[in-house]
């Protein structure tokens, strides 16, 4: 990439005395119930450089932000501190606010006096108040050494890679391509559709899964902007938003031979889907009796049923009764369920299996009236639009319900050989906790969802996973399709269990974010990356030994006063600003912009500043 200009660390002497505005948020009581915000404001006025110090009920609200803008204008502020909640929530809000008032956004500091003061020291209001003052004082100290910074601008490759060709991946690709954005769609299997081909009649509208798959597929295949790569996988990926370098290996060569392609994309969408949970051998007698199957198997069995038999057929036998067991591989309980090889249990609910069971149970009752159906559940979670109907219809169609507690899952045993019925013992809480035994010719296990395979991308892009191993979104309420790696988006069940409609909605949400990223020719990155002072750098290369990010740092030869010298050089796109290099530089030639050593020193001075009113 084009070399960055090697900026020197600006002289820390500030040309004029800064005028800092300090704003303290009550957070509607979240802060002011513990921290004495008025006192904090009063004391902060005593910090050298502070021109204005004010309190507001909600700094983030419009009037709160307006106060800052007004003061920047009227009080000629050139630096601003807001002491409120976590910067994770509002640093960008306030940076935006100062920017609108034509102040450099990097002359803004955010102090967290909610999570770090009022919440952490709920029972020590005095301590919390004192700490708030110290933290603000540190921020003011830092600001007095801050210099204006500019965002880093880098080229943006207008092309998206979508990984996974299930409903989520197909929807994202179709949406983006319809807006003119080229897409490469990478699918590891030999067909598009994800799980759709193994599904049957879909809830909530009884549509054939194949029909839905065909519609989505035709949108993908008919758009020349989408390059579909089947039987292929991403082998390496590196880079950053706007500039991801990927290598894809697959059987897509002209003669069907394995080939590798290398390409650059601006955005990566993870639509890697889910894997149905596979019960362990013997779990509910799975693999110990041929008639213990999963809901996935049962979908296939349902579509294979022929003729007008009044009884469900399996292995050439009439199945007179079927027992469905919910929550297999989901809602597992510590101490009850055996952990998987990685030591984990799946404590989460898989969201789709309840309605899946009722959909299947109802189909059995409607098509095979001589087959009885039992349903063993903990809760019936038919939450969605058109889902509850499956529950009421199944009840009306004679499905018999039993309720077990998670700590006491039903037990399934063979009564005799592989063609004999199975025995299910359950403590049923619809009949006051009675221990019941049910015999059934077949047992269907409602298997949950586990995350799809995407280790290569997870490892190479350092994508976070949650406790449940699904990809972890930035904010579970507000930003469900974004992940902490900029330029990577999540679509569908790679993020969490969901049904097809929800998957398509999540895919649309990811597509709209991807499209927004392509509205500019360049991507903008925060300037918090390492910077080298070419005059101080003696080319020792110590920094390189510490840097963990491939390509972020390199030694380059440059001409200085007629001599060729070795100097460290930063690739701003790849540097994450962790500062590992700063710690080892023998000449202190490398610093992280916005977090320079002199700024830290000033913060420490600020922390220990004596602010008793008499010292002024």
């Amino acid at each position: 990439m084009e070399s960055m200009k090697q900026e020197t660390v600006q002289d820390s002497a500030i040309p004029h005395t800064p005028r800092v505005g300090v704003y303290i948020c009550r957070c509607g009581g979240n802060i002011s119930d513990v921290v004495d915000t008025d006192h904090v404001a009063e004391i902060c006025r005593l910090i050298p450089g502070v021109a204005v110090s004010k309190v507001h009920t909600f700094m983030c609200s419009d009037p709160g932000q307006q106060t800052i803008s007004d003061d920047i204008r009227q009080e000629k502020l050139d630096r601003v501190v807001v002491a409120s909640c976590s910067p994770f929530l509002h640093e960008l809000t306030f940076r935006g606010a100062v920017m609108r008032s034509k102040m450099n956004p990097y002359l803004y500091e955010h102090v967290n006096i909610r999570e770090q003061c009022s919440w952490a020291h709920k029972h020590d209001p005095r301590g919390a108040t004192a700490k708030a003052i110290q933290l603000i004082s540190a921020a003011v100290g830092k600001l007095s050494h801050s210099t204006p910074l500019e965002k880093i601008r880098l080229p943006n490759h207008r092309r998206a890679m979508v990984v996974g060709g299930g409903p989520a991946g197909m929807k994202v690709a179709a949406d983006l391509a319809a807006c003119g954005i080229p897409v490469v769609l990478v699918e590891r299997s030999d067909r598009l559709g994800g799980k759709l081909p193994i599904l049957n009649r879909l809830f909530p509208n009884g549509q054939a899964a194949t029909e839905l798959a065909a519609k989505l597929e035709s949108q993908v295949l008919s758009n020349p902007k989408i390059e579909v790569l089947l039987k292929s996988e991403v082998t390496t990926v590196s880079g950053f938003i706007g500039n991801f370098e990927v290598a894809i290996h697959g059987d897509f060569g002209p003669s069907g031979h394995a080939t590798d392609i290398h390409t650059t994309v601006g955005v990566i969408v993870m639509a890697t889907g889910f894997k149905p949970y596979v019960p362990t051998d013997g779990e509910f007698n799975f693999k110990r009796h041929p008639a213990v199957v999963t809901t996935v198997d049962f979908n296939a069995l349902l579509s294979k049923q022929k003729g007008d038999a009044r009884t469900f057929q399996f292995d050439g036998r009439c199945i007179r009764s079927i027992a469905f067991i919910h929550c297999v591989g989901s809602r597992q309980v510590d101490g009850v369920h055996t952990p998987a090889v990685d030591g984990r249990i799946n404590t989460y609910c898989s969201r789709v299996c309840c309605t899946t069971v009722l959909n299947q149970a109802l189909q059995v009752r409607q098509r095979f009236p001589d087959t009885r159906v039992y349903d063993l559940h903990q809760d019936i979670r038919t939450y969605g639009r058109g889902h509850e109907e499956y529950y009421t219809d199944a009840s009306r169609a004679g499905v018999v319900f039993y309720r077990y507690h998670g700590q006491e899952p039903p037990e399934v045993t063979n009564t005799n050989g592989p063609t004999s019925p199975l025995r299910i013992s359950v403590k049923d809480y619809l009949s006051w906790g009675e221990e019941l035994e049910i015999e059934a010719d077949m047992v269907v296990l409602a298997v949950g969802m586990t995350p799809g395979p995407c280790e290569t991308l997870v490892d190479q892009l350092k994508l976070p996973r949650g406790e449940d191993r699904f990809l972890q979104e930035i904010h579970p309420k507000l930003r469900p399709v974004e992940i902490s790696v900029n330029g990577v988006l999540l679509a569908g069940t790679s993020q969490a269990p969901m049904n097809i409609q929800e998957t398509l909605a999540a895919a649309g949400a990811a597509a709209v974010k991807a499209r927004a990223m392509f509205t500019t020719e360049e991507v903008e990155l925060n300037p918090y990356v390492a910077e080298v002072d070419a005059h101080l750098c003696e080319g020792s290369g110590a920094c390189l030994t510490q840097c963990e990010y491939d390509g972020a740092l390199a030694m380059v030869e440059i001409l200085q006063d007629g001599h060729t010298v070795r100097k460290a050089h930063v690739n701003a796109g790849l540097c994450v600003g962790c500062g590992a290099c700063v710690a080892v530089c023998p000449t202190q030639a490398i610093n992280v912009s916005g977090w320079r050593i002199d700024q830290y020193d000033a913060m420490v001075d600020g922390l220990v500043r004596d602010l008793t009113p008499t010292t002024i």
């Binding site: 957070c27 509607g28 009581g29 009920t57 909600f58 983030c60 609200s61 419009d62 009037p63 932000q65 929530l89 809000t93 935006g96 949406d175 319809a178 807006c179 003119g180 549509q207 839905l212 519609k215 949108q219 404590t347 989460y348 609910c349 969201r351 809760d379 019936i380 979670r381 939450y383 969605g384 639009r385 058109g386 509850e388 109907e389 009421t392 309720r403 809480y429 009949s431 006051w432 906790g433 009675e434 949650g466 406790e467 579970p476 309420k477 507000l478 469900p480 399709v481 993020q495 269990p497 097809i500 409609q501 929800e502 909605a505 649309g508 949400a509 709209v512 974010k513 927004a516 509205t519």
Partner: protein, 446 residues
Amino acid sequence: MIASANSQRHKDAVIIGGGIAGLQSALDLADQGYKVAVVERQASIGGRMISLSKVYPTLDCASCITTPKMSAAAHHENIELLTYTEVNSITPGPEGHTLVVTHKPTYVNADKCIGCRLCEYACDTEYPDVFEQGLGSVRAISVAFTNAIPQKAVLDADYCLACGLCLRACPTDAIEFDQQPRQESIHADVVIVASGFQLNALTIKPQYGAAHNQNFISPLALERLLAPHGPYGRVLRPSDGKIPDSIAFVQCAGSRDQTIGVPYCSRVCCMYAIKQAMLLSGSLPTADITIYYMDIRAFGKGYEQFYQNAKAMGINFVRGKVSKIDSAGQDDLLVHVELTEEPQDCVRKQRHDMVVLAQGMIPQWNPTGFSPVRIGSDGFVATPDPISPCSTNVPGIFVAGTAAGPKDIVDSIAEAGAAAMEAARYLSMRAMPGHSPRTVALEMMA
């Protein structure tokens, strides 16, 4: 057609409803450069979410995470907010849709009002505060709530005595008693309906007798009681201001019941009841908290774990059907519940200080009669196309959030993004050579 279109205001997209879904759709479209107007009938944007206390499953303070979205929308150069505005009609046409809206009189000149609230302080006519669910009171002229957007005073003509105190107090002469409703027609290429939900009546099940006792409270009112900046600053029961020490949540109290016309599940009440129970046990550590339920529907990401945490905190989960609720003594309530879990007491009667009824979610706005947009049998906007879950029956009109059925914040946000994408897709096809909106409409209908 063309002539009148010229005299109209034109937008790429109009969003009906400034709740979290509408705002997210607006932001997602505006971020792509489209010009968007948000039509909101209330005096402030923010919808239901801004009035919540904390939100499951993160227990983030709702104000803290809603205000940035509100503020981002307010400051976005491509977004125009039309608050206190009602939609009269949406007429689709071959060249886009014509919306007729009415700007209701606020009796305050928005250009002059600086939001100083001096009028509000001066006014001495009070009435129950709708934002606080009637728990507090508000002046006849006021800014909707602390973090409302826009920060402009609105005068409520139903309560105003026209005494003129505000007129004298206003430093900018912004108050205009003679304002009239103003109609406007807006031309838009796409429309997103994000008109949200409301709760059905607390009294919908006569057997619960909520009409006869003040200590039945709406979950929305409890949200306000639990909010750090709520009306009382703490949880008090309405009848006598007592700090309640036994609180019951009765689930499905307006849902999953064909006899009341709401056969479906309202999807969020299990989770908010758990959340409210957790928050209550934080603010009233010694109180007994019981949740009577049929099924706990903790289906979302992290929700089951949230439920298990609540159980571990000692919140009582009792599975059973509440058959009726009587008054017990003056203010207390006696909950009759049919239990299926324990053989000892099939019908238990339990006294509580306060009962929270999980009212059902129903649509807030019925587009029938205002537009050709069709609704489903549940009253929410119908979405006939399975591969485009945000499309309505009318090409170029999309739907997002709870306008298309109950859902929580995260699902509303995802759907809002998807609706914005569908809209963007429609708009960019329109922009392609050879495609007029008419042909797009025909293609999409095919």
